[in-house]
C-alpha cells in the first residue's frame, strides 16, 4: 500500500493510516503497544490512497525521465563533498550567507545515484518513520574508514545503552529515584525555607552578593529567622529538584569529549594535548588525574519525572494526550482531512507514530535543538548549547523559559571537531530511557506508569545541522537538509552546487545536466533511500571511493541518531526538520537585498549594468534606509523592536526580527514604486506565502495557496534573475530550495514555528545574560544551565513558586472573553463630540434602541488588552504626544460581523 504523506502535493491530506504491516518489529516495541489510557487508535482502515497520489506518481515518472547515468562520472575531489566545518552563530546578518544551509535542494532527480541506489521509487512517498529494522551490527561490519568506524561506535553505543552503563551512570540515589520515584506530592516547605527559595529565585539575574545582602537585612530585622545562606539554599534546591549533572572530561581545545570510543584515551587524538593536568599527574606519581576541562550534560529523565510530581503540573502536561484524542476524533469525523494545522500533533509523522502504537498516552514527546554561540563578540569564545523542548506542554506554555530544559554545554574556545562525543551522554541517557522506560508517578491520578520518551525532532541551523544529520551540507550535490534527493548544478570548474531548477542554456556539466526540475514533483525525505545510500557509503573500501560516494549520496557520515531505538523517533532523516527562522528571517532577506543592492558576485561574463533589478544603490538606498527607520512611530510596541535603518546598520548585527518586519511586514509597501514592477510582484508572492507559513495556526486552504505562491515565487525568480545563465547559477542559493519544502513540511511535522530555532536563540540569549564571572565564562554557563534545570524542575514540583501571571494592574476591568479594559480613564465625564454621539446613535438604533438627539457626557478609557496579548490604544491619549515619542497602537483590525452584540440597557 502506498501512502502519500510526504508528498509535496497538498490537495488532499491523508494523515493517518492504520496499516500495521508498516510497523517495525523492533524488539523493544513488540511487547507493549498497549495504549494504557484512552483508546487512541481507531481500528478500522481509515484511508485509501487519496486522489493526488496519482499526481505524485505522475510527477515521479516525469522526474525519472530526466535521469542521467552518473556512475562513470569523474568526481570532483574538492569543495562541496567535504564535511563542512562549522561556522555557526546565527541571528546576525553577517552570517546569513553561510546559513543558507537549511535550504534543501529541490529536485526530483532520482537520478545520478544510478550505481548507488537501486531504483526504489516506492519509498519516496512513504512515511519515513515506519520502516523495517536496520541491522546496525551488519552496517558496522562494512566499515573500512577509521573516522566512520568511530562514528559507528557511537551509534552502537546508543544501540546497547542502559542506565547501568558505567561511564554514563547517574549517582546511585538519582538512579534509584529514576526507577522508583517517590509516590507523594511534596508539601510546600517551611516558612524559612520557602523564604530562602523565593529569595534565591528572585535574585536570578543578580549576584550571590545580592542574596547575601538581602539575607543580612532580613536577619537584622528578624534575628530569630533561620534563613539559609546562599550556598545552603542552592544545595537544598538541587536536592529537592533531584537534578544532578553528568560530568565528562573533554579536550582543552574542545576537539572532543572523552566519551564512547574516546573514553579511555589520555591524549587528544586530534591535537595531541593531554587530558589531565600534567603537573598534578607528575607530582602524584600518576595517581591524581585532574581533568583539564570538563563539560556538563543534564540528564532528561529526572526532569521529565518532575513534570508529573504535582497534580497541577501533571494535569497540564497531559495537554498532548487530550489534544491527540481530539485530533483523532476530528480525523474520524472528517474522513482524514484537517481544517488547519496548529501544532506538531497535526503532522502526519506524529499521527502515524501514534497510529502504529509507537507513541502511547503518557509518553513524552521531545524536540532536541542545538546551536553555537559566541559568549563575547569578536573574541574566540565559541560554545555549543543543546536544549530539550517538551511538546507535551500546550504551545502557549512550552517555549517559555521555565519549560525549556538545557541539555548540555560545550565550552569553547574552539568548535568541537567530533560533535558526536558531546551529544553522546545526552543521547545515551535518552536511548537507555527509551528502552527501559521512565517510571513516573502521576500526581494528578495517583498512579505509577511507564512513560517512553519519543524523540520527535532534532534541529539546528544550517551549519549546526551537519553535526546532527551527518549530511554533506548545503553546498553539496545533494544539499537538501531534508534529504529529498534533488541534485544541484555547479558552474564548469566550480566547487559549489546550487539547487537550480531550470537547466542553463548551453550547459553540459557532467552530473548536473539533467533537464528542468518540476517543483511540484519534489518529495519529502525517505528513510529507505537514506539507509540504502548509507550502506553504500559505509562499504567504501578506501578514501577515494569514500569521497566519491560521499559526493553521490550526500552523506558524510552516519548520523548518531540512527543509534536510537527506531520506534522511539521519527527516524533518520525524518526527525531533522527545516529551520524556518534562519531561512525566512536571514537567508532570504540576504539573498534579495544582495540582488537589489547589486552586491552579489558578478561573473566576468556577466555585466552589472544589465541588472535592472539592482536599484537599491547610492542615493536611493540611503533614502530607502531612512524610510525604513521612519516607520518606527507607526509600529506598535507589541511589534517588538522596530527595524533600524538598513543603509546604516545592515552590517552591524541586524537582527532576525528586524529583517522579518522590514522584509515581510513593510516590504510590499516600502519596495512599491522602487523595485521595477515585475520584480516587486514576484517578491509579493514570497511575502504572501511567508505570511501564511510563519503563523502558529495555518488553515489548510491557506496552506495550499501559500504553497502555490511560493512555488510561483521560486520558478519566477529563476526566470527573472538567473535567466538560465550558467554565470548566474550562484543566484539560486540553497534557501530557494528550502522555500519549496516549507508548506509540505507543515503537513509532515506541523507549522514551522513549532520547531524553529527561535527558542534556542532565545535560550542562549537569556543564559548569556546570566553569566556573572567573565574570568571563567564557560564553567559559569554550565552552572547557570544546571541551575535553570533545577529551578525549572522545582517549579514543576511546586507550581506556586511561579509568580502569578494573571494579576491585573490597578484600575483595570476584565470585561470578559479575554478583553481587559486598561487605564487611563477620565476622572470626570466629558461631553462626546457631536459626530461621535451621532455614531453612537446609529449603533444603538442598529441594536434596536433609539435615543433621540442627545449628546451624553462619558468616561473615556484609553487602552484595551486583546485576547492575543496585544494592547490597543486610542487617539484620545496618543495624540497628546509628539510623533517621535509614540509607537502608534491605536489602529486595529476589525471583524464587523462580530459587531452584533445586543445592548441590554439604555444609557444611564
Amino acid at each position: 500500500m502506498s501512502l502519500d504523506f510526504g508528498n509535496m502535493s497538498l490537495d488532499d491530506q491523508a494523515p493517518i493510516v492504520n496499516d500495521r504491516s508498516h510497523s517495525p518489529d523492533h524488539s523493544e516495541e513488540a511487547e507493549d503497544p498497549q495504549p494504557s489510557l484512552t483508546g487512541w487508535i481507531p481500528e478500522r482502515e481509515r484511508l485509501s490512497a487519496s486522489p493526488d497520489l496519482r499526481q505524485s506518481e505522475r510527477n515521479s515518472n516525469l522526474e525519472l525521465e530526466g535521469i542521467s547515468d552518473v556512475s562513470q562520472q569523474p568526481q570532483s575531489e574538492t569543495g562541496p563533498d567535504q564535511i563542512p566545518t562549522l561556522t555557526s552563530d546565527a541571528d546576525d546578518a553577517d552570517n546569513a550567507d553561510e546559513d543558507a544551509a537549511e535550504a534543501p535542494d529541490p529536485g526530483c532527480q532520482a537520478s545520478d545515484r544510478g550505481e548507488l541506489v537501486p531504483d526504489d521509487r516506492e519509498g519516496v512517498g512513504m512515511i519515513p518513520s515506519v520502516t523495517r529494522d536496520v541491522d546496525l551490527q551488519e552496517l558496522s561490519d562494512l566499515v573500512q574508514i577509521d573516522d566512520i568506524k568511530i562514528a559507528m561506535e557511537f551509534v552502537r553505543g546508543l544501540e546497547s545503552a542502559t542506565l547501568d552503563d558505567k561511564e554514563m551512570r547517574l549517582d546511585s540515589e538519582a538512579l534509584e529515584r529514576l526507577r522508583n520515584p517517590p509516590q507523594y506530592q511534596i508539601e510546600v516547605p517551611s516558612s524559612d525555607l520557602r523564604l530562602a527559595v523565593d529569595l534565591y529565585l528572585a535574585v536570578e539575574n543578580a549576584s550571590q552578593d545580592t542574596y547575601n545582602a538581602v539575607r543580612t537585612a532580613i536577619l537584622r530585622r528578624y534575628p530569630e529567622s533561620e534563613l539559609l545562606s546562599y550556598a545552603r539554599t542552592k544545595n537544598k534546591i538541587a536536592q529537592m529538584s533531584g537534578i544532578t549533572p553528568l560530568v565528562h572530561n573533554m579536550c582543552i581545545n574542545s576537539c572532543l569529549a572523552y566519551t564512547g570510543p574516546f573514553a579511555t584515551l589520555e591524549t587528544c587524538p586530534t591535537c595531541g594535548e593531554s587530558r589531565y593536568d600534567q603537573i598534578t599527574l607528575t607530582n602524584s606519581n600518576g595517581k591524581v588525574k585532574k581533568p583539564r576541562q570538563e563539560f556538563h550534560s543534564i540528564p532528561i529523565g529526572p526532569q521529565l519525572q518532575a513534570l508529573w510530581r504535582h497534580s497541577d503540573s501533571a494535569a497540564s502536561i497531559q495537554y498532548c494526550d487530550t489534544r491527540t484524542a481530539e485530533i483523532i476524533d476530528e480525523l474520524e469525523r472528517s474522513d482524514g482531512l484537517l481544517d488547519s494545522y496548529d501544532d506538531f500533533f497535526h503532522g502526519s509523522e506524529y499521527l502515524q507514530a501514534v497510529n502504529s502504537g509507537h507513541i502511547k498516552p503518557g509518553d513524552m514527546i521531545l524536540m532536541f535543538s542545538m546551536d553555537g554561540a559566541q559568549l563575547y563578540r569578536n573574541k574566540l569564545s565559541d560554545c555549543w548549547i543543546g536544549i530539550w523542548i517538551i511538546f507535551n506542554h500546550s504551545p502557549d506554555r512550552r517555549y517559555k523559559k521555565v519549560r525549556v530544559l538545557p541539555a548540555f554545554f560545550v565550552p569553547g574556545p574552539n568548535k568541537p571537531k567530533n560533535c558526536d562525543s558531546y551529544l553522546y551522554p545526552s543521547l545515551h541517557h535518552l536511548a537507555a530511557l527509551q528502552k527501559e522506560g521512565i517510571r513516573v508517578w502521576d500526581a494528578s491520578s495517583n498512579r505509577m506508569f511507564t512513560s517512553t520518551p519519543f524523540l520527535a525532532l532534532a534541529t539546528a541551523d544550517g551549519p549546526g545541522m551537519v553535526y546532527l544529520n551527518g549530511l554533506v551540507g548545503y553546498h553539496g550535490k545533494n544539499g537538501c537538509r531534508l534529504y529529498c534527493g534533488v541534485t544541484g548544478r555547479h558552474k564548469p570548474g566550480g566547487a559549489h552546487y546550487y539547487p537550480v531548477l531550470l537547466k542553463p542554456h548551453n550547459y553540459d556539466v557532467e552530473g548536473c545536466d539533467h533537464d528542468d526540475i518540476d517543483p511540484y514533483g519534489i518529495a519529502a525525505c525517505s528513510s529507505e533511500r537514506y539507509y540504502e545510500n548509507l550502506r553504500q557509503l559505509l562499504s567504501s573500501n578506501n578514501i577515494t571511493q569514500y569521497k566519491k560516494r560521499r559526493l553521490e549520496t550526500g552523506i558524510a557520515k552516519p548520523s548518531i541518531f540512527i543509534g536510537l531505538p527506531r520506534a522511539s523517533t521519527l527516524g533518520v532523516p525524518g526527525c531533522f526538520g527545516s529551520d524556518i527562522m534562519h531561512l525566512v528571517a536571514l537567508n532570504l532577506p540576504d539573498l534579495l537585498l544582495s540582488l537589489w543592492r547589486g552586491t552579489i558576485d558578478c561573473d566576468k561574463t556577466d555585466d552589472r549594468r544589465t541588472w535592472d533589478w539592482a536599484v537599491l544603490k547610492g542615493h536611493l538606498w540611503k533614502v530607502h534606509g531612512e524610510a525604513v527607520a521612519a516607520t518606527t512611530p507607526y509600529l506598535p510596541g507589541s511589534f517588538d523592536r522596530p527595524p533600524r535603518n538598513p543603509a546604516e546598520k545592515i552590517n552591524s548585527g541586524y537582527k532576525a526580527w528586524e529583517f522579518l518586519m522590514y522584509i515581510y511586514g513593510l516590504g510590499p509597501g516600502l519596495f512599491y514604486n522602487i523595485l521595477p514592477q515585475m520584480y516587486w510582484e514576484n517578491f509579493c508572492k514570497l511575502v504572501y506565502g511567508i505570511r501564511i507559513i510563519h503563523q502558529h495556526e495555518i488553515a489548510t486552504c491557506d496552506l495550499r495557496q501559500a504553497h502555490e505562491a511560493l512555488i510561483g515565487f521560486v520558478t519566477e525568480f529563476e526566470e527573472l534573475y538567473y535567466q538560465r545563465r550558467t554565470d548566474r547559477i550562484h543566484f539560486v542559493r540553497p534557501v530557494l530550495h528550502g522555500v519549496l519544502h516549507l508548506a509540505p513540511e507543515v503537513t509532515r511535522v506541523g507549522p514551522g514555528l513549532c520547531a524553529s530555532q527561535w527558542t534556542i536563540e532565545r535560550t542562549i540569549g537569556n543564559l548569556g545574560e546570566e553569566i556573572r564571572q567573565p574570568s571563567n565564562p564557560y564553567a559559569n554557563l554550565s552552572q547557570r544551565g544546571l541551575r535553570r534545570c533545577q529551578v525549572n524542575a522545582l517549579k514543576a514540583i511546586f507550581p506556586d513558586l511561579e509568580p502569578n501571571e494573571d494579576g491585573l494592574p490597578r484600575g483595570a476591568i476584565d470585561i470578559g472573553n479575554g478583553y481587559i479594559l486598561l487605564r487611563a480613564m477620565q476622572k470626570n465625564p466629558k461631553p462626546m463630540h457631536p459626530c461621535e454621539a451621532g455614531a453612537l446613535r446609529v449603533y444603538l438604533q442598529e441594536n434596536g434602541m433609539s435615543n433621540g438627539q442627545w449628546c451624553p457626557s462619558v468616561y473615556r478609557w484609553a487602552r484595551l488588552r486583546l485576547p492575543n496579548g496585544q494592547i490597543a490604544r486610542s487617539a484620545w491619549k496618543e495624540k497628546l504626544k509628539p510623533l517621535s515619542k509614540v509607537r502608534m497602537a491605536r489602529n486595529v483590525k476589525v471583524y464587523l460581523y462580530l459587531n452584533c452584540i445586543p445592548v441590554h440597557l439604555p444609557l444611564a
Binding site: K400, K401, Y634, G637, S638, W657, M661, G665, P668, G669, Y672, N673, E681, C684, K685, I690, R691, H694, H696, L753, W758, P809, I813, I815, N817, Y819, L821, R823, A824, A839, L840, Y843, V858, R860, W861, A862, L864, L866, N868, G869, Q870, I871, A872, R873, A875, M888, A889, N891, V892, K893, V894, Y895, L896, L898, N899, I901, V903, H904, L905, L907
Partner: protein
Amino acid sequence: MEFAEVQYYLRLTRENTIAIVSMYSRPDPILLKASHHTLWSCSYQGNASLKVISTEAIVGVVAMVPLFGVQDRYFVVEKPGLDIAHMRGDDETIVDED
C-alpha cells in the same frame, strides 16, 4: 475585514463596552491584486467615518504606515509571526498609566 483607528473606549453598560473608531477606506483594489494581496492601502477619513463598534469586534493591533510619496495614504502591516514573541513568553507588559 476592516481597519480602523480607535478614538477611545467606553463602557455603555456593565455588559457592553464599545470603541469609537474612525474607519479607514476600502483598499485600493489594483494594488491589492498586483501585490498578491500583500499591499492593503487605504485612506484615513477622520471624523467623516466615525463608527461605534463592540470591543469584541477588535481582533488585533496593526500598523498603518504612510505609503511613501502618497498623501494621506497608508498601508497595513500586521505583525508577522505574532507568535514568536508570544511563544517565548514576551507578551507585552502592562504598564500603569494615568
